[in-house]
């Protein structure tokens, strides 16, 4: 068992949704055995393609090499696994999404471009110290984030993130106006001295026969960032309290979290009187590192 040294938006969301889920995926470090989640594989491959494409195009202007490097990155990130029949986010549909992006937003005329530092600011990361100490190492806890671009748009700086989805719902745009992940990104970039005023989210829906796009532009006034920060501190204090008590409530039982994004990975454990019997046969001991951005083996 290990308390995370770094809090990310996804780690925090896992805790907010259900502390028991957080206990399983972050404190113990369990991931279901078997093929990678196809939704994550497709989304990751799409993001890898756009990152490689933009990095090359906005550095050298070489369109052909840029689109080739994007496709190569997509292939490597999607990997050799094919989803079971009936799943929409296949390799071919992920390629179709990449092509749709190149058609709808050609890099030469895209109205959103990465701002320039030493090179184009794509894959922007930040790590900040929190005013809390790690419960076992006594080192400061960190808050980290990573987004797709620090972008120039209409003469101002924006966070920019690409998102894939199944379908673009009626309220797709509005969801970003309050999304804590986005507020955290704005806070992180501002803390590093960038005068970011909001975020642009570009959505790509990957469907069986077509791909659709939408874009949301959302602002983050200071009062909203202050409110977000207060809530982050509240959540970190609750995490530390759960660690001290050794009690991680099953909040999904009340808030529907067990089935909100498909069936929760830990359904098998939560429906067992003694979950320890089901861990080794159903899960690998791995944990996501938000700074190194890779899965690492966790200790028993």
């Amino acid at each position: 068992m290990e308390f995370p040294r770094v809090i990310s938006s996804s780690i925090r969301e896992s805790f907010s949704r259900c502390p028991q889920k957080f206990f399983n995926d972050t404190i113990i470090g369990l991931v279901p055995k078997g093929a990678p989640n196809v939704h994550l594989a497709a989304g990751g491959a799409y993001a890898a393609a756009l990152e490689a494409m933009r990095k090359e195009f906005y550095t050298t202007g070489d369109y052909d090499l840029a689109v080739a490097l994007g496709m190569e990155a997509l292939i490597r990130a999607y990997g050799p696994h094919d989803p079971e029949p009936g799943v929409t986010k296949t390799f071919e549909r992920t390629v179709a999404a990449y092509v749709e992006h190149l058609v709808q937003y050609p890099p030469a005329t895209d109205h959103v471009r990465p701002s320039q530092g030493i090179g184009p600011r794509v894959e922007f990361s930040f790590t900040l110290e929190l005013p809390y100490l790690h419960p076992t190492t006594n080192e400061p806890l960190l808050f980290a984030g990573r987004f797709d671009q620090l972008a120039d748009f209409n003469g101002a700086l924006f966070i920019f993130d690409d998102k894939t989805t199944g379908s673009l719902s009626k309220w797709w745009r509005q969801q970003w106006d309050l999304r804590s992940q986005i507020t955290g990104y704005v806070y992180g970039a501002q803390a590093l001295g960038y005068d970011v005023i909001g975020a642009i989210i570009r959505g790509m829906s990957i469907l069986k026969t077509k791909c659709d796009t939408q874009e949301a532009i959302t602002h983050r006034p200071q009062w909203m960032i202050d409110r977000w920060k207060m809530r982050l501190f509240y959540d970190v204090e609750r995490m530390l309290d759960c660690w001290t008590r050794g009690y991680w409530p099953h909040s999904g039982e009340e808030n529907g979290g067990c089935t909100t994004y498909g069936l929760c990975n830990f359904y098998t454990l939560c429906t067992a009187q003694d979950p320890s019997h089901y861990i080794d046969s159903n899960y690998d001991r791995m944990r996501w590192d938000p700074i190194d951005r890779e899965m690492k083996e966790s200790q028993e």
């Binding site: 369109y63 052909d64 190569e72 292939i75 990997g79 050799p80 390799f91 390629v95 190149l102």
Partner: protein
């Protein structure tokens, strides 16, 4: 028209680090873009005479 089997053949060669070139991949992507642009022209009932978009308009 780039077929799914061509795409998967390219995928296998990239994943196996077998012979491929960035020129070859770029040609495949540009073919996919052209195929997609051609699909915009498919509906023929419209009376609109808008100029078709082609790949060169995007580069």
């Amino acid at each position: 028209m780039l077929e799914a089997k061509d795409l998967n053949d390219l995928r296998k060669r990239v994943l196996a680090d077998e012979t491929y070139t960035h020129d070859e991949i770029a040609a495949a992507v540009k073919q996919l873009i052209s195929d997609r642009l051609a699909s915009f022209e498919a509906p023929t009932k419209s009376k609109s005479k808008a100029k078709p978009v082609n790949l060169d308009d995007l580069i």
